[in-house]
Symmetry: C2
Subunit: 366 residues, 2 copies
């Protein structure tokens, strides 16, 4: 599989949904496979909340491959011998694209908390500029899970002529009150870390690691299914010789401590806040009198909407809501509830059923 | 309604389940109604995680009445013209009974994090000593919701001859992996507050208010039902002139900020940790080869087990599990799933259905 990792600079200023402007930006991208001469075999995969451009393959020194490696590769579900797969880190992230850790030209300091608010629509705008740059006039498919699925949906709405298929997986047309509430708790935890310094921790040489860790521990619970956690950990006591923290009693506590600790070393706190805000505010129907049917009417792409039965963060009602509106809007759409052993995170993992659905959708006539 | 609030000192040392010993302790109690001459009309109500001895009536200067005021009072479900209702703050709490904020005689300093670990069984022991003190040889009923329901169940197991009825509401015979995980996140948030000082904040004149606030915000989400939150707040934006925090966008965020802030002023961080640990470790079947049927076989009390349909923290499966084991154990037990508009918190609020069930149970022949 031909893999190219490249940072691309865009010099034009970008008008953001918030009304703010970004005077140029960079996108860290990774591509898999080769673009055909007609440029008609391109697939865009959009990352979820804490994902990045590295979707497939294993880089040198890496323990784990990219986040959707089970699906993307030669002969895999998204077959890189046939398709040219484009992946990128979204702006506002912390893996190479312009974001809070980037040095702002105006101040010669990291943006920090001053990086402008970004939205799912803004990401689609940057991805459209990336498509222009690559000479791709129409994606064969845009696909993503969770916040990535929201981008796939927004693509179909924003650029009806530039996308043939949208795979909207474990996603929603707007998140629930409970999800906003959970995101607010995560933000609260991070912002009250003594090392957060109102978002200016980089300038101060500090890191709000504790806040990031606890926020991720909470997030992690919501990504897993209760039944999976029960099966995997139950009420098993942690081996006393191998505790992350002296007060830990149960294995599940130790696991969360470990996962949170690892995450806090690799993610940026301002990005965490900014990404959750983008998730909260996503609601494409708001520009159509809160009418999702109206909002979807201009779509020309085929939609695949999939939920997972063990997902309690984005349960099937979310997917069904999009599907019902798509049907009423008279657009070409199919919905499936898939078996998933891993709760919300199921969208990341291969299963025969899931792979068959996605593969058939991608290879169907557009 | 005759109401007596009294702090009672117990001089004997108390051997705790953990192996540690408490050399004497105090219980803050509140009673409603009058004990009859036979001392046969006594009802014990056990508080949930953040509750206290003040279960009914409104004290001077108080905005809200006690936590179960909708159920306890003259002519109410637990009718104080007929029954003598006993309520207390459990040890380890922070509302007058011995706990982390109490001055330890040995050091002349607050116990802080050195207050010994307590368990549901330990609470039942102290409540049994309170019954002895009051001359009550057998409770007509022991009742409670959530962690209070666990105490009611433990009473029936520990003292079969001293309890006629146990009302086990919105409770469980052991909490799930997911609940342990959520408790661990709350503890992590509190312990990493810069003002926690390994639990010695009182001695240092500090208060880990931020940690307590965020932990409570998380807890609050789990106490409410998703549908109730949706109905009440939906995605309504917060009035910009009335924000708890400049970054708040949605009403639900502001509500949680407010609730968390209020709570952080009245609760003790070490108590929070200790109470969640008691909840995690509750598992009476562990002393019976993890066999709940065996564990329940000695029970002589009648059991009422009730769950609420909107409770996702302690869903009906928990209640059904106790009921199935009770049936197999051949003891007198009834189970009901009640309609509840408020998620897990439904156990606190009156409904005709709920009140009828509890009243009929209390007034039935023991």
């Amino acid at each position: 599989m031909k893999t190219v990792c490249k940072k691309i600079s865009f010099g034009d200023s970008l008008a953001l949904e918030s009304g703010q402007t970004l005077s140029g930006f960079e996108l860290m991208t990774e591509t898999y496979g080769e673009l055909n001469s007609d440029k008609t075999n391109a697939v865009l995969v959009c990352h979820a909340f804490s994902g990045n451009h590295h979707a497939a393959g294993t880089q040198e020194g890496e323990e784990k491959p990219g986040w959707w490696d089970e699906m993307i590769g030669d002969g895999k579900t998204i077959d890189t011998t046939k398709f040219f797969v484009v992946s990128l880190n979204n702006i506002g992230g912390c893996h190479g694209s312009s974001g809070p850790t980037t040095i702002a030209a105006e101040t010669d300091q990291p943006y920090g908390a001053n990086f402008p608010e970004v939205s799912v629509s803004d990401w689609v705008e940057t991805q459209k500029l990336l498509a222009d740059y690559l000479g791709i006039s129409c994606w064969e498919m845009v696909a993503g899970g969770s916040l990535g699925g929201m981008q796939a949906l927004q693509w179909a709405i924003s650029y009806p002529k530039r996308i043939k298929k949208a795979a909207i997986i474990a996603a929603s047309s707007k998140i629930s009150t409970q999800n906003i509430a959970l995101n607010e708790v995560a933000r609260e935890i991070i912002k009250k870390d003594e090392n957060f310094h109102n978002g200016d921790y980089l300038v101060k040489g500090a890191s709000p690691k504790n806040g990031l860790k606890a926020a991720r521990m909470l997030g992690h619970i919501t990504y897993l299914s209760e039944s999976n956690m029960s099966k995997r950990f139950g009420r098993k006591l942690q081996d006393p010789d191998n505790k992350m923290d002296a007060d830990v009693n149960y294995e599940v506590e130790n696991y969360l401590q470990y996962k949170g600790e690892q995450f806090s070393k690799t993610f940026d706190a301002n990005s965490y806040i900014l990404m959750t805000k983008a998730m909260d505010s996503f609601d494409p129907a708001k520009d159509f009198d809160n009418n999702l049917v109206k909002c979807l009417q201009s779509i020309q792409a085929k939609l695949l909407i999939a939920s997972f039965d063990s997902d309690w963060l984005f349960p099937k009602e979310y997917g069904l809501d999009i599907q019902m509106s798509a049907i009423k809007a008279g657009i070409d759409s199919t919905y499936l509830e898939l078996e998933g052993a891993y709760g919300h995170d199921s969208f990341l993992f291969y299963s025969d059923q899931y792979a068959a659905v996605l593969k058939n959708f991608l290879n169907s006539n557009g």
